[in-house]
Symmetry: C2
Subunit: 336 residues, 2 copies
């Protein structure tokens, strides 16, 4: 910190300046035992004087630990990460990693190239661990990841199998909550717009909807499939209106789709919530600003990130964590 050195200061220089061996210097850097107080202090001073910072690469090579974990988004859609959802996940992860010596690497595995990269990561310990969010159904990498020798925790549960380690939001429970709310309101012809059915969140929310209606003894036959996008929501709503004009409520599996649905409803002259009540999922920021403001299910996104990171840390430390399901809760606004 005293001067800006042109060349990297090495441990040898520190050792020399402190008048000790490199081994000793290394020990005090990593505060390991077997160094006398005097030398320890001498090294400390040398470090400060020289502004020494250990070379992470060399250390990684020697210890066989990379000092970095990666957040990988495996998706067939290059724009997937643009979803504000991930920004929040990252905030959560980052908060946990902050207390650690670990760096965070970001891998948007959306192209063939990115997928290859991810595969290498999974096969060849080039990272200390990976947090994987797999965004399409039959992702071969997801299966690979679950048996990789590298620690892997999943964010969200894939449809095809249940990974050993994952954290997810209680999608099914949230959907049930939302649907029950609609039932409580006295609605009886409750439809749903599902998300992508090749994603865990899509199927789980659909399941929750079905369960709630089964319990209430109501017909769960009014369904249209969307893809989590606004446009998909519009399309599905139109389809629903055409097929089941009698509907008086709809549980929409994402706010994004709900926004699309809202527009279609408005154009069709159905008033919300009087003619049809709408509840969404996620509680994105814009959900507060729709007309009318959207009743929705909130999931703790930052916590999701935080818990993923924590679980990964545990895995790296040799623990055997159990999957974690985070609670969701209903946020009531004016669309119901």
């Amino acid at each position: 910190m005293t001067e800006i050195p042109k060349r990297q200061v090495t441990l040898d220089e520190v050792a020399e300046r402190a008048g000790v061996s490199r081994s000793a210097a290394s020990r005090v850097i990593n505060n390991a035992p077997h160094v006398s107080k005097a030398k320890r202090e001498a090294v400390r001073r040398a470090v400060l004087d020289l502004g020494y910072v250990p070379n992470a690469t060399a250390r990684a090579l020697a210890t066989q630990q990379v000092g970095a974990v990666v957040l990988a988004i495996s998706s067939d859609n290059p724009q997937a990460f643009a979803d504000p959802f991930f920004a929040e996940v990252v905030v959560g992860i980052s908060a946990v990693l902050e207390e650690t010596e670990l760096e965070l690497m970001l891998l948007l595995a959306t192209s063939a190239r990115g997928q290859t990269r991810l595969e290498q990561l999974l096969r060849t310990r080039q990272t200390d661990g990976v947090m994987l969010m797999s965004m399409h159904g039959d992702d071969p990498l997801a299966a690979l990841a679950d048996k990789a020798e590298v620690p892997v925790v999943f964010g969200g549960c894939p449809v095809t199998f249940e990974p050993r380690y994952y954290v997810d939001a209680d999608n099914r429970g949230g959907a049930r909550l939302a649907t029950e709310h609609l039932v409580t309101l006295g609605r009886t012809r409750i439809a749903t717009i599902t998300g992508r059915m090749d994603e865990g969140a899509g199927t789980a929310r659909y399941k929750g909807y079905q369960e709630a209606l089964a319990v209430a003894g109501l017909d769960a036959g009014r369904v249209a499939h969307g893809d989590f996008s606004e446009a998909g929501g519009s399309r599905a709503m139109a389809e629903l209106l055409a097929g089941h004009p009698d509907l008086d409520a709809v549980f929409v599996a994402s706010d994004q789709m709900a926004i699309g649905a809202l527009r279609v409803l408005k154009d069709a002259g159905r008033s919300v919530p009087d003619d049809v009540a709408i509840v969404g999922f996620n509680d994105v920021i814009s959900a507060r600003h729709t007309e009318p403001p959207l009743t929705t299910v909130r999931q703790p996104i930052q916590s999701l990130g935080r818990e993923m990171a924590r679980m990964l840390l545990g895995l790296i430390a040799g623990e055997t964590p159990t999957p974690l399901i985070l609670p969701t809760r209903l946020i009531k606004r004016s669309s119901t």
Copy 2:
């Protein structure tokens, strides 16, 4: 790819299997010249058979190149990254880095710890380059970064100085566009809600507003300062309403704030756009879903990321790029 090796396959093993020296094997991996066709082929086969993947750490140590660049967000607000803005920047960056051997590291330098980390990065070539988005006014790291020996490109221009290398959106031009639009509409008592005045975007947009009004010969005295947040926008709007009840339009320096302002206006019984016209900035997704939908200035966020990455690549390659200002454009919707 043939089998999952427990231990990392090394170059030596490849060399041995191919019956060549390690040097030769290295040459074919990095496809350098001076290897006979036969050996080259033998090595290729060995690589495939063994599923060899070079150890990035070892390579980094030998070449003195890390193989990774970092995107650093320096901010006093831990939640800063939760802004969907960054998610899009990352998509842009990632798209460029994809064609490269470089990894992307993410550093949310929001705590003291993170700041230290960033400083080390800047001082000690632990990365091949950094893209820095500095989100608060008197950030000492920003100044340091601009003279660091590590390649650094700024995303957005700080208020206090103009970095050597940066890419920014044309905030001033966009603000002028927005304000001129209001003028064209025949509004004459045009107010503004500014962003944080310790951020480049905040001052530049304010400047654009002033310029447009100066050209039109209109009074630019109706101003309230916000902080880019929704709550700040509400507060500022209330202040404006109290101090300048005659206003008939307001240029708001962010959509987020505009949303807050909209609510206050509604509560005050002023109709938008009839009584007062509003234009925002950024064109976030929710801008389309406000009541009424928001006229706003769109900046090409993904391009911002893309160009930052490209500029950094240039810098790393030894070029001397010039700062880049990305165009903004007006998106007309119903709030004006």
